[in-house]
């Protein structure tokens, strides 16, 4: 631009000044004063535009980086918050999501190291409230959804819009890993051996509560045939068993049963009830299982 200015001034004004009979104008290092002024003018325009342009670019970069830092950090913080809830949620027996996005779940905790019966601790995750406490409540919106094709997963959608209208979105998943099936405890045989002999009845706590027996819908009592023998070498006899679910509780508004009571028609030392299929609180189903009480253990 500077060269162009000098060239223009020389070309256009040469005749007027160089060929003029009048006295030559003052010059500065081979340039006339007007040329210098003109060049300085062009240079100042150039420098001003560079200064403003450069500043605006720098400011834009600065704002963008600061905004990115502010909003990306906020999003990372929100994401970390949701993920931190993921570990206890992976051990949840069942969960529900309210219309306002409140997640209620029941974390399974072992009663003791020797026991394999789990107690369910009710917990709530209020992400909106937790985001508010972190100072992100006004900045980040959260939507909690149940994943359509995975009944064990929760999707948390996080979103925000910065001052320039740029949208930041993210989705975090929390997944329930365990199966809260109403399984028999591992010491089932030992528990029931003496009970069957003395009272023809045995009550055991289930590892997780049951919603019911799966038989023409969900029922709490089923009678069926099983087997019994007087000695380990004697032939098996067909006997009657009745299975009842007891110890009612309510979880997520649904009645559930913590114990299984088995009644038998005989006091034979070796018995083999065939426990019907049961549905757990998370919808998982156990298979019908023949379980021997007494006799030689494998």
């Amino acid at each position: 631009m500077f060269s162009l200015g000098v060239w223009c001034s020389k070309t256009l004004l040469m005749d007027q000044w160089y060929n003029s009979p009048m006295k030559r104008h003052n010059s500065f290092k081979g340039m006339t004063l007007l040329e210098v002024v003109f060049a300085m003018l062009l240079l100042s325009i150039l420098m001003t535009s560079i200064a403003f342009g450069g500043t605006s670019v720098l400011l834009a970069v600065k704002n963008r980086t600061e905004n990115a830092s502010k909003y990306v950090l906020a999003m990372n913080k929100a994401q970390a918050l949701v993920l931190s809830e993921g570990q206890p949620f992976s051990n949840s027996a069942t969960f529900s999501i309210s219309a306002t996005g409140l997640i209620t779940y029941y974390e399974a905790k072992e009663e003791s190291a020797s026991s394999d019966v789990f107690t369910l601790q009710r917990k709530e995750v209020n992400l909106k409230s937790e985001l508010q406490q972190l100072g992100l409540g006004d900045m980040i919106s959260s939507t909690v959804l149940r994943v359509a094709n995975d009944p064990n997963a929760v999707e948390v959608k996080l979103g925000m819009v910065d001052e320039d209208g740029r949208a930041y979105e993210n989705a975090v998943f929390m997944r329930k890993v365990i199966n809260a099936s109403p399984l028999l405890p591992r010491n089932f045989s030992q528990r029931c051996q003496s009970s069957f002999a003395s009272s023809k009845k045995c009550t055991v706590p289930l590892m997780f509560p049951a919603r019911g027996f799966v038989k023409d819908g969900l029922v709490t009592s089923v009678s069926s045939k099983g087997f019994a023998q007087s000695t380990s070498t004697a032939p098996w006899q067909v006997v009657d068993f009745t299975y009842d679910l007891t110890a009612t509780d309510v979880i997520n508004g649904v009645p559930v049963y913590k114990n299984l009571q088995i009644s038998t028609s005989t006091s034979a030392p070796i018995q083999c009830p065939i426990v019907p299929s049961m549905m757990g609180i998370d919808g998982s189903v156990t298979e019908t299982a023949a379980v021997r009480v007494g006799g030689p253990q494998p």
């Binding site: 993921g86 992976s90 099936s181 399984l183 028999l184 590892m207 379980v291 494998p298």
Partner: protein, 152 residues
């Protein structure tokens, strides 16, 4: 005249140096918060990445145990996943309930799965848990229930 020009030249050289230094100082002051912001973002992203890795490998560890038990596989006890390697360190049967044929109906297990991250900068994690295998019989695969899992 020559001396004066030289003096002027050295004076302007000094000014130029100061100008450059001032420019560098201003630039560094502008850059400092940017650099800090980038550092914060990087460390924050690292924490989030580690949380995501833990969540995903926890699921994968449970799936590995399920696969191992339901297929009665004797060979596969280590798998490579995007985040690193999962190794079934131990799978101990702690109790069995038999049926009238003295065949197992329920088997109870405690397991340990070791996760070694792909990145050398991260430390490994051990997942411990318990599972129950229900042997359905026939040619059907066993039904495996993961009853508990957590990081050690």
């Amino acid at each position: 005249m020559t001396g004066l020009a030289k003096q002027h030249g050295s004076f302007f050289k000094g000014v130029a140096l100061v100008t450059v230094m001032a420019f560098i100082l201003i630039l560094s002051m502008v850059m400092l918060p940017l650099v800090l912001g980038v550092f914060q973002q990087t460390s924050s992203a690292t924490v989030t990445k580690r949380n995501i890795t833990l969540t995903e490998t926890l699921n994968s560890a449970a799936e590995l145990v399920k696969y191992k038990l339901s297929t009665a596989s004797t060979g596969l006890s280590e798998v490579g996943i995007a985040q690193g390697r999962l190794k079934l360190k131990s799978l101990n049967c702690t109790a069995t309930i038999a049926n009238f044929g003295n065949q197992p109906t329920y088997r109870y297990y405690d397991f340990e799965v070791l996760f070694t991250p792909a990145s050398n900068n991260e430390s490994g994690v051990t997942f411990t848990g318990s599972a129950v295998e229900q042997i359905v019989g026939g040619a059907l695969p066993s039904k495996v229930h993961i009853t508990h899992i957590s990081t050690k």
